[in-house]
Symmetry: D2
Subunit: 332 residues, 4 copies
């Protein structure tokens, strides 16, 4: 039985927590322009969800002094899995913090840990159900964000990070990128628990840093609509890259920078990865179709900039240089 021998069972990437400097400005960007659904607003935080999501939030924006990501959350398969996760991390000597039910609005009890890659990860099971807007087409706006799909992380040592996720947490690899050395090394990897291309992508880079949160949109038309709406509202500058298509994952993508510089991907074009014998697809780092099947070249910012992550006390974590070169040789 797949996963039967895991220390605990991760279901999927569930939500991200971002520190932003102006909640109202962020609300305008995510809700008015991109079409996220606002579930709840407190003086210090904004809880958002996508149109198909029934759980309370998939994006938490918390007011703070400077932009960062303060936690990235996996849903686990049961309350027992929260306990098991806690025991697992404690046994490894990791920093573990209990988050009582309700500390994050709508959410049951959770644990937060500093994982071996240096990211502040949250594991929880329970969250309040709220109204699903999937068939409230009269309320659709902007990009039609359906749900959080994945997180993309800069890590200095992709091989180590890949091993952590696949060997310890039971993630499966759908696609990966290798260097073109005689003995190729993993430069990036796409890993999943749910039956899609990824829940977590790990890319070689100065890390730990959050490269982007990827939100699933309905179709390519929604991505174009996002461009039109952002441009009409005077936010053309928030479009960093795209639209275009990646060879990797077949994603039709658009990368945006929110008002604090956090990078958001609007993403469609996945495929089903349910089969346990799915053979991971290998790409070569300098294959131009890997990064950009078609579309303009990625700008340098896309390789260089990312959101810092915070430790469990809220202090920024100092990132480490990447082991490998941080971009293909054709990107300068």
């Amino acid at each position: 039985m797949p996963g039967a021998d895991l220390p605990f069972s991760v279901v999927r990437t569930h939500h991200g927590g971002l520190v932003v400097t102006d909640l109202e400005r962020s609300r305008h960007f995510y809700v008015d322009l991109l079409g996220f659904v606002e579930t709840e607003r407190t003086p210090d935080a904004l809880y958002l969800r996508g149109l198909e999501e029934r759980s309370h939030h998939s994006l938490v924006l918390r007011r703070g002094e400077s932009p960062a990501s303060d936690h990235l959350a996996f849903k686990v398969a049961s309350e027992e899995d929260v306990d098991r996760a806690k025991a697992f991390f404690e046994a490894r000597g990791a920093a573990v913090k209990e988050v009582p039910a309700g500390a994050e609005a709508g959410q049951g009890r959770a644990i937060r840990v500093m994982d071996p890659l240096g990211f502040p990860m949250e594991f929880f099971f329970a969250m309040d159900d709220v109204e699903r807007h999937l068939q409230r087409f009269d309320l659709y706006r902007g990009a039609h964000p359906m749900r959080l799909d994945h997180m993309n992380l800069f890590v200095p040592n992709v091989q180590a990070a890949h091993d952590w996720y696949t060997k310890e947490l039971g993630f499966r690899c759908s696609e990966y990128t290798e260097t073109e050395e005689k003995e190729p090394r993993v430069w990036a990897t796409w890993l999943h628990r749910k039956d899609s291309v990824h829940d977590v992508a790990l890319m070689n880079g100065l890390g730990p840093r959050l490269h982007h949160l990827g939100f699933w949109v309905l179709d390519t038309a929604s991505v174009l609509t996002a461009c039109d709406v952002l441009a009409a509202a005077g936010h053309t500058a928030s479009i960093e890259r795209g639209p275009g298509r990646h060879g990797i994952s077949n994603a039709f993508f658009l990368y945006l920078r929110d008002p604090d510089g956090h990078r958001i991907e609007l993403y469609t074009g996945d495929y089903l990865t349910a089969d346990p014998d799915f053979t991971p697809i290998r790409w070569s780092l300098n294959d131009p179709r890997r990064q950009t099947f078609w579309g303009h070249a990625a700008p340098p910012s896309w390789f260089e900039e990312a959101s810092p992550v915070l430790d469990l006390e809220g202090a920024p974590i100092r990132p480490t240089d990447a082991l490998l070169s941080d971009r293909p040789h054709f990107v300068t």
Copy 2:
């Protein structure tokens, strides 16, 4: 020079006037759900336009006791053409009424006449420019109606109506339907002044009555969005027919009934008809691909129901039975 010998020059179908019984209910339908732009509201009327339209209105909803169409307006090429139109109709002994500038909000001086087909037609040149919403993608809603495209009229004698429009007013025929008799008769005809498939379609039926006003939408996706939005808002019953594709005109269509039963077509899929030597396309009445290239059969209401038209004093005009059978033999 095409048109050089015409009594006056019609540019295109410009706007329609509908009498509705509840302005607020109509506003909700047209503005909130379908996405028309509201230009102006008076106690007695609502002036709407499409997203690409720069002139003040393409649809006037006037409050009244019972649903009807009180005028259908052509834009002519100049103020002189308004004079010429007046002289032309007076010379024919038609009822002609001057509409002073401003009587219809935003509109210059016009004339209204009862045309030989029994319709209350308006001819005008000047209308106020207002802000075009074409690139205000942040304000797009619902069906993304771009502009009024055409009017479709039930007339009892299509051949006579066809001759009126083509021989007297200089319309050109893009497509037409004939009966399958030994000596075929025209059952319907698609006529244009602008470079599209039609400004006016004339269909055999109990008339004069207005079958529908056709609004151009951006693409097929907009038509599907209209369905989703209407259904989500509890207005599924307003969808009378479609989505589907006509053989005639290649239209991808959706027919709606507004809260007063007026029929609106959302329409995309036209083609360019600029060439003066364009050979009209002939269809046979009982060719099933003519009416419905694909899509469910039209319901009987589509053949039977239409908006009554009013004379220049606002009295309903009693329609006359059609000369030919009012529908293909495969529709029962």
Copy 3:
């Protein structure tokens, strides 16, 4: 761990087997018009797959005297699960037949059983990988069928069938329909193993019969393209119902009848069901938005006609009348 105590682990609905009377005619329909990829053709069978599928086939058309479905196949999680499935069915006294590797082209060893619902089900693990056409956009045609998504079965006793799939085989319910009696009974149910709305839908009706095989297409535009292509090629009559949207599952659908009358659904608009605590969505049988969120009413054939299924020796199985009324009261 979900599924840890199951007799064997089903991954997903993987392929369907249909008996057709003219392979070449079927090939034209599925490959030339709808855009399926042809993997292999033998004198007696045609093996097809969708554009994203890497395994040898998701649809097997076998030449035969009269239309039927001869097997419906689930992929299981390992070779051991094939053994476990065999033991499980033998212990229940079911008819079980070994299908040696290669008997079905490209497929490893499988078992076929008559399940308690009277369907000829296949369980297998291994199948040859073939080239994935996901990024061969230059070869896309017709409806852009991506992959087999689900099978929809007519069963006379939905409650019993629901219990079989959920209690014995570990399927989870995403949505279901109940009658409006004082003590409501299940009229239809949507069940899944993969993280989508369904692998198997069970509908109250004369059964066992195969109502349809549902293929996932990329987007709503692909569904419209299918209509246009079929109509252009003279196959309008193969469109039985749609396009429209179901309330249930949020499917944007088109139902086609292949040249032998087998029903195929082109389907898009699903949502993610990975969360183990997903609360099934309840619909009332006579809620008009359940069946048709919008779109024309389903024709009687949609409720009445379905493909017969064969037993392991190839003899047709005589269906039994449904326990409940076979359609909502508003469909006549």
Copy 4:
């Protein structure tokens, strides 16, 4: 009557003639990949048309030693207009050449002239009707090119060129770009005869040279499909710019370079310009939304490279430097 006092009446931009070095390679690009319809092939030329076009060709590819444009053709309103055009140009002392019927396959008698801007322009009325593929959806491929929409020309003196087209040939201006000097000068202008944004765009640059031929495609999805198909077929490098949206004309665009470097625009998103009192839309050269409402910056090649044009004897015409700076200051 608009145009009544013109020397002759131009209907619209009708076709372009390109010299290519390898007909088979060009056929693969235009027909197999982009989906143009092949009307006729001779040893020396290939005649192509779009899906909605009924006339014999809108693109002529002629085999030659080096890439160039050998003629750009306007359809005029009648045979008499061909005579009038001839008389008009002869009276101005221009080089005029008679092209007998059939010299260009499918085309009636034409004249070719060197216009005052230095372009080899053709004026003709008659062309053979061929089968329209508008409803042959089963044959649609690639980008779904519907029809030739416009030609975009580099001219060194835009004001002079603007005056030529508007004052002498009766074109109307839909949009234009001015410099930001105290006394602004016209930097680019969009001119039309048919009821669309343009038949001819004139841009400040080293000229006379043909910047691109713009083909109308059905919708934004067709543009994305073109990208996918080109990339899948190994022709990613033919994508020079886009997809993106221009502020000017509201075009959703993709610029391609054919195997000889000729630039083709795939274009959708126009609006109706039938009204004779349409007020031209003014843009400022350095308004970033003018060129790129959204989308990556245009590469330098887009401002620098263009197809040379040939004189009536087939000799290349030496272009002249632009009067004004050849690009906005934000493009380097």
